[in-house]
Amino acid sequence: SRVRFLKAFEEVNDKFQEIYTKFFDGGKAGLKMLEEDNPLDTGIDIVAQPKGKRLQSITLLSGGEKALTVLSLIFSLFLVKPSPFFLLDEADAPLDDANTLRFVKLVKVLSEKSQFLLMTHNKNTMELADTLYGITMQEPGVSSLLSVNLNEV
């Protein structure tokens, strides 16, 4: 199990760097074991350095930079061990237009191997979707599904 953990750590770390540089057009990202000699108990640090910036604590990153860092990490976990579906509730809310487009492009690629359910208010994200479900409260206080045909949007 120690060997399996180290293998997973290496693979996720590699993918994390790969996806992160795709999102930020450069920069560096990685995972760090706090106690390298104790892989079965060690805590994990996340390191992220956007392009052109000095390396600093991830707590100093902006709202959008944090969201993209987490999305890069989640997608790298997926590439190592695919999950049958993703459920992301307004994950695009902190992103500016350019980063929303990068996010949706990557989702589109990954959606060939997994189903994506995205709750969103963002028009760029809606345009990308294969299917659109509208939720409404035509009767106040009671939710129902409005089947929306994509051509109508």
Binding site: I44, L77, F86, T120, Y133, G141, S144
Partner: protein, 168 residues
Amino acid sequence: MKIKKLEILGFKSFAEKTSFTFPPGVTAIVGPNGCGKSNIVDAIKWVLGEQGAKTLRGRAMEDVIFNGSEKRKPTGMAEVTLTFSNENGAAPRQYSEFSEISVRRRLYRSGDSEYYINNSPCRLKDITELFLDTGIGSKAYSIIGQNHINWLINSKPEERRFVLEEVA
């Protein structure tokens, strides 16, 4: 295992039975503030075994049962059913001959709760075992609730091991 269908009845703001099928690719769920989008996320977490009322934004688990509206009385039960297709036989041995697997969870106002796999009663433990090693579960890395995107950054280093162990 791919998600095929979600059926919600009496769970939070879904008073009437509502069914969703999930075509492949990307499905966007849209609607005005307060219409019930995040309640769908809560329904999926709940049927997969979520035990914390606070994680579902309630004070007690009873808060997930439809509590009435201007014109309707509260209902007595919440029920969510999630159906997966099992074409590639990824489910554990005892379920391998089923082409579909459905899990159901019910909660009554009395506090009684019931779990089902393919319509036969089971325990929560059976549902957790069913999804072991499939990447499906209420705490899976692939379910990110609203305003929760930064949890991996705000969490302690020890808590982050959990997601790596999941993929190991």
